[in-house]
Amino acid sequence: VNPPLRLYMTMPPDGFIAGPGDRAGQELGRDGGRLFNWKDDRMSDVPGPARGMPVPSRGARIRRRRGSR
């Protein structure tokens, strides 16, 4: 059995995976923690996380974010 390699990344629509100045001690760059609010709300001063948002399965419709219209 040869399991597939899957890339898991968190990315905004303009394609950045970290803020500027990513380095040791600031691994996600400036404000880069924003990207992971969906997961653990690590920067709570910006729109909140979609806790419990299901991972879409094939053919499923993606759920709206909590609080959206």
Partner: protein
Amino acid sequence: MGRLVLYMSMSLDGFIAGPGDTKDNPFGTGGQRLHAWLGDGGDDPSGYRPDDDPGRTVFDEMLATGAVITGRRTGDFVGYWGGDHHDGVPIFVPTHQAPAGPPPGGVHFVTDGIGSCAAQAKAAAGDRDVLVHGAYTGQQALRARVLDVMEIALVPVLFGQGRRMFDGPGTGHTELELVRALEAPRALLLRYEVKYA
């Protein structure tokens, strides 16, 4: 008052045209791939209507807009749709210098900035939204804080090169709210509201 809504098809790596986009090849090399979620086309805009419900939802909203703002580059490439993008609604083109000669059909060149262009288009559209086309124009509208919504058709392809939707640092950190996500057979149709700080 309607809102300014940017409609763009984009590859997962952020390109909205392939490399070498010119007037003779407006989508760039391979760029047609980004529009495969639409219908096959034809002389009439309705020829591009997708055959699936999610695609039709977004497409019909796009053609229900009451005015169009398009960049000079996009407009020049397509001859300003002969002056009529859909239903004869006015077309506003922000530009530094209007071309000589009378503009085609319902085209208005606006030389006093994207803010003025947005205001004129909204006034013309009345209660309806304004369709915005073009990467550069979308960026300018974001910088001027007049863009309200981005409707991105995210296409499952990597281009690696071409023309980027979001280019340069000018827009900075801008919060978006995903207000709708529709799964069409050939694209994710993502609707974001722009939340200016």
